[in-house]
Amino acid sequence: MENLLEIRDLKITTLRGKNTVKLLDKVDLDIKKKCSFGIVGESGCGKSITANAILGLLPYPLQVSEGSIRYDSKDGEKELLKLSKKEMRSARGREISMIFQEPMTSLDPIFNVEMQMDEALTFHHPQMSKSEKRERSLEMLRRVNIPRPEQTLASYPHQLSGGQLQRIMIAIALINDPRLLLADEPTTALDVTIQAQILKLMNDLKEQNDTSIIMITHDLGVIAETCEEVAVFYAGQIVEQANVIELFGKTAHPYTLGLLRAVTSLGGESRKLYTIPGIVPPGGQWSQGCRFADRCEKCMEKCRQAMPALTEAAPGHYCRCFLHSEEVEA
């Protein structure tokens, strides 16, 4: 495989009463090797469920109803959606790891840091000796810049700050050398100066290892600072995708433009801030036309009748909008 991860036609649905409701609609993503890929969009657009689907972690009644997720694993190409529970568990951590927004809730409060790192290692390397595991844990803590690693190994989660916990989560996520790290809002709960520490750390780790990162965030600043390639999600679809410089410099989709205007008007001249009117329509309330139509300043007649396809507006730059292509979604 050329890419590390290839998602095709991914659809996620849920059950509401007796009805099946679509939450994610025909998403295609290619994650290159050694790439940092950003997923951005407002709350409820489907960012987290996409990441959870990759790791087979969708909670009932959510399920993947269609599509494929192919992954170039250490021992050959695999279809992640066809893995057994056991195979998936052994892929987690060793092939693909995830870090979440709330480090406090992802660590177990009754075990100290050493026990939690130990457990992550033992799962994939049952033959490793106690002292090897300790050595490896200390090495990881040093790599994520934890001061006094010996002391930290003996600490319990409540004795550590949010920034320290998030660094430990990253250390655990990387302890078995995965090739893909899914980071779901890893700095949203942190202060800006701690965020700067963590983002720098993630950038450094990417440089040093062969790891690709999928960075999920609603913060365009975080995207601008850390990602090479970006997909903008809206109401369960990709509406724009491009290289980061192209996306910010030659923004094509009215939704992406709106998001950018909303954040940049904070530093702008006008006292009145730009806002995108209305809210993201939730799954089950999607119209047959363009899902952004109700909030779009440029909305035309045909936007309400048919859904635009995601087409290439410039080399490597994809956009789903009739302003850029007449093509209708099949």
Binding site: E42, L220, G221, E225
Partner: protein, 328 residues
């Protein structure tokens, strides 16, 4: 001189709030969290004063102590020249008609068993004795200001989105026409475009009702946009204060410099040059000696470890508490 004095609505002097740490069966006090160490600032009429700083630095505690929702350990708060700490609880309760609080979390601050009508009419009933028609028209007027309609009066909080709930809690705080409001992170829980709607609303109402505002936030972009002056807090102390544009353009304190440089830029071709601070904020239960920032400061010298720097005026209306200010 006297004219200038009158212009000042709120005057906070050496505010201090310590929380006791209790241990054991006897609840013995074994120490104190120095939540607010020494905070002084003034807010003029119709001014928006922002308090910024990272989690746990004492912003909310300062805001609550100003309104005496928490009793200060030391220091005074003057409101329209009157020392609030001399007021009885009953007098203070009446004062809250003019001094209101907007909370960060609209989910927790709105009583789920009250519909919009109850939520908005209750503060009026507590503070005024209005005939029913007048009550009704005041509520409808406020509803109009926040962009909602009378047919929504019968609805309960869970029937609204996060942005709408925050509008309702703003309306609830402003319905008594206070002259002063503390808004504690009023937009932090919201998406960007909803956040912008609420900020626009707050700025409009602030102008229209001639409000003075203490706006608490950790979002430096939001603070720059909404405030006239700003106070930067670290570990319970004010490190720097001044006109917002001046502080953002010429940050004088090493902490302010690091804080402002940490904000991600929205331009991938021009990534901001972060000053990445090492380590974490010290524990406010055992704050460091000398300058509160010295454990993480790149300019720290011996004097910084020993002596706490006072706020000093470095340019007109621009104060910073650092021994080496101007030497950097």
């Amino acid at each position: 001189m006297s004219e200038k004095k009158n212009d000042i609505l709120l005057d906070v002097r050496h505010l201090q709030v310590y929380f006791p740490i209790k241990r054991g069966l006897m609840k013995r006090v074994v120490g104190h969290v120095h939540a607010v160490e020494d905070v002084s600032f003034t807010v003029k009429r119709r001014e928006v004063f922002a308090l910024v700083g990272e989690s746990g630095c004492g912003k909310s505690t300062t805001g609550s102590a100003i309104l005496r929702l928490i009793e200060p350990t030391a220091g005074q708060v003057y409101f329209e020249g009157e020392n609030l700490s001399t007021l009885s609880e009953e007098q203070m309760r009446l004062k809250r008609r003019d001094m209101q609080f907007i909370f960060q979390n609209p989910y927790a601050s709105l009583n789920p068993r009250m519909n919009v009508w109850k939520l908005l009419s209750e503060p009026l009933k507590v503070h005024f004795d209005l005939p029913p028609q007048e009550l009704r028209s005041r509520v409808e007027e406020m509803l109009h200001l926040i962009g909602m309609t009378p047919d929504q009066l019968e609805r309960y909080p869970h029937q609204f989105s996060g942005g709408q709930k925050q509008r309702i809690s703003i309306a609830r705080a402003l319905i008594t026409h206070p002259s002063f409001v503390v808004a504690d992170e009023p937009v932090s829980a919201l998406d960007v475009s909803i956040q912008a709607q609420i900020l626009n609303l707050m700025m409009e109402l602030q102008q229209e009702m001639e409000l003075s505002l203490v706006f608490i936030s950790h979002d430096l972009n939001v603070v720059r946009h909404i405030s006239n002056s700003v106070g930067v807090m670290y570990l319970g102390s004010l490190m720097e204060t001044g006109d917002t544009e001046e502080v953002y353009r010429h940050p004088a304190h090493p902490y302010t410099q690091a804080l402002l440089s940490a904000v991600p830029s929205h331009d991938p071709t021009n990534k901001s040059k972060h000053i990445v601070l090492e380590g974490d904020v010290p524990n406010p239960a055992s704050p460091p000696s000398g300058c509160p920032f010295h454990t993480r400061c790149r300019y720290c010298t011996k004097v910084c470890e020993e002596k706490k720097p006072e706020l000093q005026e470095i340019a007109p209306h621009h104060f910073a508490a650092c021994h080496h200010v101007g030497e950097m």
